[in-house]
Symmetry: D2
Subunit: 292 residues, 4 copies
């Protein structure tokens, strides 16, 4: 029998994930800060709870996927938080991207209540979320993972058990450093050819036939070249993840020079607009230097 | 009838390229600063000339592929240089990576003598050179390209005509910025996970299943993770190309923050060893911070 | 009549500050995590309290100067913290370097209890602390400042009221960015001349006669050139302050490219030793690139 | 008897230097690419030559101070260049800022002709040039320096013999790295406080009373805070010098991370305007991030 599932956080990633669980026959209780984001799911059979606590009280497994550490703290702790309602032997799975330290703190809180906690940040974007082809970077106990594998199989195609709590978030932050810098790499290459008066399409043609081709650039390069963006991974989140990665690296004594540099560029690009742009819009940074 | 071909520069790339021309039945005259590098080609039928000038005098088409701008200047100009021997209506193809300005200067010199010049830097690495699967980034006249297409088809599978002289080198420099930063991206991601005590293999597993996967990382990541390198693209050349790209960008007023940063890192890593390491050995930079 | 003063945090800065208050006739109650650091002050008349709470209960004015935000949180809040003992109408002055947000939070906590709070980070180093020549960067109410001016005059020669709570810390972080980058500037200039085989003394001679001369380099350049350091401003604190400044800037959308870069260098240098080095030891970073 | 002096390069620095030589009674022959720049000197007694060659033919000592390596090459070499006219036993003093390699090449050319060459780049700005208070960074032979000391004493107050040819330029480039980064340091500190809504004057007040005060900031900070600039050291020249310094450092294997970074920022700021701005206008970079 499928367990009852609670789902907290109905953003770009959370909504399609929750929809896939519904489709797979899971009984779903949902909560989102902006409740209307869940209307469609409710119309398809999900139950709406009044708080994260109520979600937890109604569910054997609770999944959270919110935008940043502060949002996760606010849904987990406090009078109306998940921990106030989590059942004994309940399982909490967090798919947000946060610091390893916060994941460990959540794990300790769960353990204190006799519950289990998995960190399970994802990669694959909105496309992967919709198709059920996400990749999970897991930290926690192997036995807990075993218990939730059927559910992971609904949301994704692959999962990696990377070690105890903290390892999942660390690898996720490293992966976002990789993706962010790959996009920055193409942005700088593009700026160079455009600065020389060569259309960006020329570079893209060469890149796509070369060793420089990558999964993320298959999706992002056409937008960067055309200047017509669709936001699937918002800059505000990539900027946040670079901050988490760099802060972690500085605690560990590992220098990340290109990432630190790129974080400042992301910061400037983000501050330069009021729109919720995709992180690959960093390609437009060089246009700022037009003579005036 | 196949034209007579001169080949100057028998390094990691030049040797397999020249060998493919011999195999395809071209009559080949060769020259290299260190002559012994051509012994094998001579034993297979190539003629050895005493100078770049003699190569040019003996050939309808001359191909040069040397390590840097200074080396190219020394084989093209002067009493024993290519231009001193180049036949009227001869074609000079340079596959070195140099500045667009130097390519344009070579083009003007060729034109003055009634010859044709193509810039034709390549990507694809030693593997592509051996298999005859290089990609050419061409700048120059479309008609000249037409005349040499049979020859290009022996050396590579694809060529892009990117515009007048200078455009080929500009796109080539941009491509190396892309490849260098993609490798730096994985180097930083790797440093972060290792700094946290997680084996690099874990990150590689995730990367290879993710959107972060790229052609260059398919080849380089296993070396970066294992620490066992085979030099196919030497750091000294990637470091030189970053310098050329950044100098060009500074002339154009295009900032390349991550590339500028990474050039300094490449510089430090290169200076830290007497070996001719591959550029992906930048992955070891973080080990320098071990406490003493 | 002089007010009773509590003093929490007896590090490199705190001890000479507390000593000056004793000398000036203030009745002093002290506390430090490592109690023995206060022995000398006790022998000269200070009373030792068992907790920050007891310090607060015994004092009209409480001064805190601890090493980082976490340390400040631990002495201010909780059962044994300052706020648990602070008298109505008491004044709390914090001279630690922390985030503006934490200063504002402390201010709200003080207000809730009917107390006053000033942020009062300092510059001037151990030398300034010993001579009573510190410079205070104040945020808070002008009236509160007026009440504590006699006390500030014992510890320093100048104070600037920079605005409401948060402004003092912001200017302090900006000042440390300035000082850190000035030292990094000389470190890079020094690396360049040494790399060319020119003794560092030559650069120092020129610098001291030039517009590049600065207060911080008057003190630090001789150490950087000789390689014989005395730790007065530890790298671990400068590294922390760069982190606070950059995190603040990223929240504000202000890019700090050189600072972000230098933070990574500080991080690597700090991680490369187990000693509590001065931040100007960043001058030795370039020696890492010696060939091996 | 005072020797006859030739002066080539009448820019912001050259004109006041030449004027001081006239005032001191030297017989002066001048040349400048834009001849009209010398009209005032001619009206005060200088002779105008038709080429650098003629300047050299008319003079016992020739001084050059032009804007960049290309300009120096064009005035020294070729049919109308200095070396075509330089007298046997003549002395050539170059006060331009160029690469050490170019200075060494000029020295060899001079030696071949039985002449002497000094590299003598200066610091002190237009103010120092006008007051005759420049500082010279000399490379070359001690005996040559002895011969020109009376002349140096007219132009400046101090000179340092830093070693053989190349050492003067190396120290000069290092000094400009220092000055450029000191100004960038204040620019970033200023951006941080302004981003937080605090007037820049507050930071300047604190800075001027602190260890962060420096000679260059005494002059530049008021302009950076007010936004009203007077160009005394153009950004185009500081940007060029950063390029020379970083290229030298990369040849030597010395990483200059903050300088490399700042060069890109200078590049973007320079490209963002058609005016000949002072390098301290880098303080306005952060305004580019205003939301649109």
């Amino acid at each position: 029998m499928t367990p009852s599932v609670g789902f907290i956080g109905l953003g770009l990633m959370g909504r399609p994930m929750a929809a896939n669980l519904l489709k797979a026959g899971y009984e779903l209780t949902i909560w989102n800060r902006t409740a209307s984001r869940g209307d469609d799911l409710v119309s398809r059979g999900a139950k709406r709870a009044a708080s994260p606590r109520e979600v937890a009280a109604a569910s054997e497994i609770v999944i959270t996927i919110v935008s940043d550490p502060a949002a996760l703290e606010s849904v987990l702790w406090g009078d109306t938080g998940v921990f106030a309602g989590l059942r004994p032997q309940g399982i909490l799975i967090d798919s947000s991207t946060v610091s390893p330290a916060l994941a460990q703190r959540a794990g300790q809180a769960a353990e204190t209540q006799g519950c289990e906690f998995l960190e399970a940040p994802v990669t694959g974007g909105t496309w992967g979320a919709e198709k059920g082809e996400l990749l999970f970077m897991l930290g926690g106990e192997a036995e807990t993972i075993k218990r939730v594998e059927p559910l992971l199989g609904v949301l994704g195609k692959r999962w990696f058990h990377l070690g105890p709590l903290g390892c999942g978030q660390t690898v996720k932050l490293a992966m976002n450093v990789l993706l962010g810098l790959e996009v920055e790499a193409f942005a700088e290459a593009l700026a160079l050819v455009r600065g020389a008066g060569i259309p960006g399409e020329r570079l893209m043609d060469v890149m796509q036939s070369s060793m420089g081709r990558s999964g993320v650039l298959d999706v992002k390069a056409p937008m960067m070249v055309s200047g017509e963006y669709k936001t699937s991974f918002p800059m505000r989140l990539m900027h946040k993840d670079f901050g988490l990665a760099i802060d972690l690296a500085n605690q560990l004594g590992v220098p990340l020079p290109a990432a630190a540099n790129t974080r400042e560029l992301f910061s400037a690009v983000k501050a330069g607009t009021t729109q919720d742009i995709d992180f690959c819009a960093v390609a437009d940074f060089w246009k700022r230097s037009d003579a005036k």
